[in-house]
Symmetry: D3
Subunit: 165 residues, 6 copies
């Protein structure tokens, strides 16, 4: 198969041959340094974005609240995603890029562990975006969160991955 993102088509790793869910065995894997970057984008209106920031600078606590929510969510990932292994996170960071009518949330997570931190990065970005939505929903219920995706990962035997720009 030519698509490097599609490594095995025979089945889902989290289900056994009978289709039953399990938290798969990773006890034979050695810990290695792993990193994942993910994003989410909150699409709203220019006037609403202006409430969150002012000339690119934070205005009040809004962005800090979302940043904290994202970092804390990264640590809660294995409680939220049923088949995720708990991992000792060694770094979690949330950054924001403000556009005209959208704000992009970037999450970076690292571990020295036996599984990757893709889900931690995706969960952090998603919860940060939901937290921003919560703060603006009284002024824009139509805001939409989208483009939640993995940007890059490194470490582990499945090798590195980078999404095309």
């Amino acid at each position: 198969m030519s698509d490097p993102g599609m490594t095995e088509m025979t089945g889902l790793t989290h289900l056994n041959a009978a289709g039953e869910a399990l938290m798969v065995d990773v006890s034979a894997k050695d810990p290695s340094h792993r990193e994942a970057k993910a994003q989410a984008v909150l699409n709203t209106q220019p006037e609403v974005l202006a409430l969150l920031s002012n000339g690119g600078l934070p205005k009040g606590d809004a962005l800090a609240v979302a940043r904290v929510a994202g970092i804390m969510a990264a640590k809660k990932t294995s409680e939220l995603i049923p088949l995720c292994h708990p991992l000792p996170l060694s770094k979690a960071q949330i950054d924001f890029e403000l556009g005209d009518d959208a704000i992009r949330i970037l999450a970076l997570v690292r571990t020295l562990g036996v599984t990757g931190v893709e889900m931690e990065a995706l969960t952090a970005a998603s919860v940060a975006a939901l937290t921003l939505y919560d703060m603006i929903k009284a002024v824009d219920k139509r805001a939409v969160i989208g483009e939640i995706k993995l940007l890059a990962k490194s470490g582990g035997k499945s090798g590195n991955f980078e999404a095309e720009a």
Copy 2:
């Protein structure tokens, strides 16, 4: 202002005049029946969707795992979203609509409470989508979660809301 989704442009309800975050006072509000519907969409590839279901029917536990994750996340919303009030949920339901290269997650949440359940429905849909991503990520790291949005809400003094189709 003509856009019914933009009710006040003067500030964010979760920040005080100094820009400081707080969990706002809802003690003067009477409990009422409230409902919210939200969605998330997981975009992947037809071969991957075929791993999750077969002719529209679940294949193994995959959809059930995501359904449970979404319902449990609805109950965790006030732990994840810092300024959300805790609410006694009276219903939580997750449905899936399978398309050719996407699966749409629909979350419905009800409460008899003093604040709306928009965040609970959005969080449930998002976590169910992330759980599906977790199960397919070994075969499609390029899957993207998008179109997370509120579909409808009812109850509460701010009135009903329905997103245009």
Copy 3:
């Protein structure tokens, strides 16, 4: 059907007609005072029980630790049991009855709520029993927890229930 414990044989209340799990709608139910009593029994050996108590009196913190664990577990029930509604518990109590080679854990839980507290009482008794097992497992790995059952419930429209002795 003559068995008062078997009220409907047509299906499970937590699954819809398609067999899909949901947290069922209780928004039409009025809050009422509800109570449930449940038990668990830890079967071990007389010498081990003597480590937990002395002439019926607690010896050290062991019983207190299990009591606290049971009470805290009652409050965590809706986090553990996926389709349970969160409830505002108004009382939780754990009692112990020491026999020759067994200790019986009794849990009593009350709420003013829209669903019963059977699961809270059963969860409290179970976790208290597991906590006792944890403390004695170095001296008796063969201890067995059994007879976890509902003893009585009252309140709610399904009426009262009492297990035969």
Copy 4:
């Protein structure tokens, strides 16, 4: 002492000489591969078991919900059992064996850690059983959960253990 399950009769490992509870020091222990198997049994009626499955095959989400609940509970063990050490679980699996009037829940847990995973396996089996009870309680309040016990453990300096059949 002849009983291999009774290794020390002088006291409980989780209490100090004054009878005070503590989370004991395991910092001198080296991580090793550890595994534990435990079970719980839900005793109900044939008609009720038929609601959970059909000819040995899953019917709807019921078993999947209990499986997910058990796996997530394994990850929550150190939050529930006060003196348990947190452990990085490397595998968690729940299986069901359907009998005529009972369903046996088998939990298997692995870690590469400094303490055993007996409590994780027992907690997973117990919570999966409680989750099944929750789904059938409207049709059989008299169902009883029993025979919660450790089946086997391996790894760690206390050596292997296997319950007799």
Copy 5:
């Protein structure tokens, strides 16, 4: 007894006559509006305080992080304090007063519930203070948190309380 803060000297409300802990029965109490204010004080050095703020204005995210931590801790109180009843918080707010070598954390919590929110306010103030300590501990390990106390409470049948200035 002349001290209005000492209302009953006969025993502790959370222990029964045998000295056993329980979550006491509040099912006969009617919900009422309740409020509590509490404080904690972090004592450090002027140079360290200057890192947290600048001329009374926040400098970076430090105070926002502590504010969010305090609000989220208020919602977690019944998980942390074993015998506390879960309560539906209707407001939670954290304020800071910066002195020369100390920062005072003020927590205000409201509920419409059957028990008071003293513990929620005290827990919020304490966790906000601990969060500030966490951020400054690399520069001042000698910082001390003190004067954690209830400032005022209102609502409930035990009447109002206000600490002398």
Copy 6:
């Protein structure tokens, strides 16, 4: 700078150059044995202390409940303190020293990890003190918690620390 407790005055380790909070990168650090001791003091009245203990001996479950609360809080530290790394605790212990009108809570925590356990020890002592306050608040709302501070730490590259007596 001569004060050994003030190691760097240039900034806060948990904020980047732009003042934004993050969970800092510890992935380059090697795990080492670390220990921290912290205290909190609950100041109340002699008659109230007599309710908690009798002649220095525990009276009922009160001290055991606080001990358990402190140990469980140590394990929850990274959930409460937003920028704390999760750590695998290898020991947690709470001791009490009863004075005439105060009770001193001592917390000792160990890990084999990449960051120190100061926050775990401080959180454990604080939550144990809050739990004692909860039990006595009906008889002494004026009780004050103070002197929460780090007593000693060892392990890690920043070296040992001991507070002067």
